[in-house]
Amino acid sequence: MHNNKYLKENPNQPLLAYHFIQALTRINLAAHTTSTKQRSHIIKHAAYVSMAFAAGNKRTWTHAVLHNRFPIKTRFHRLSGSRRSFIVSLSRNKETLHQAHLLRSLVPGGHAMEFSSLLMETANYIQYLTAQVRLMQCIVEKFDMHV
């Protein structure tokens, strides 16, 4: 089935690490000019951008991150894909639609996706999020050993 490729792919860990560490190195060089809180925002932003780079631009969510600067809130372009999306069958109840709507707000570019794409993009997004979290935990551990 065509959608299998979304789930077979495992996040490219070295690529993820490469982008993120590069960003951290730059951030570190400017450390004396930023407050801890500012830096935290910059690091968070770098985390999402490196995720998007590592995941490649075949995904809707990566486009949304790189162009709308998620998670920093901007007024992003609502394409009302949720309305355009095909009517779900009668067996899908209100609760499912409600949860799907909530999910759209959590996945970058979610509002522009058709329901089936939303599910596939979500799966991919979660894979990269967990990989990014693991990477950051790993880095924190290494730091802790030397501070």
Partner: protein
Amino acid sequence: MSSRRTRITEEEMNELISKLQNLLPESRRRNTSRASAAKVLKETCNYIKSLHREVDGLSDRLSELINTMDNDSAQAEIIRGLLRS
């Protein structure tokens, strides 16, 4: 809202939902054992929110640690450490 037929079948939809369920960590999967699509979506939302919070927390940690570390040696250590693992 105009009526249009679903593009993918109920079965394919359920398959996607169960694949999503498999991505949830063990603890969250328990809540969805009688997987209704709505439950899986709800747990997925909760999981993503917790991952976002983790990224926030780890960003804070990294920011503080950058503050306290010495430039060259720590960077080299990190990179060496990560290449080793």
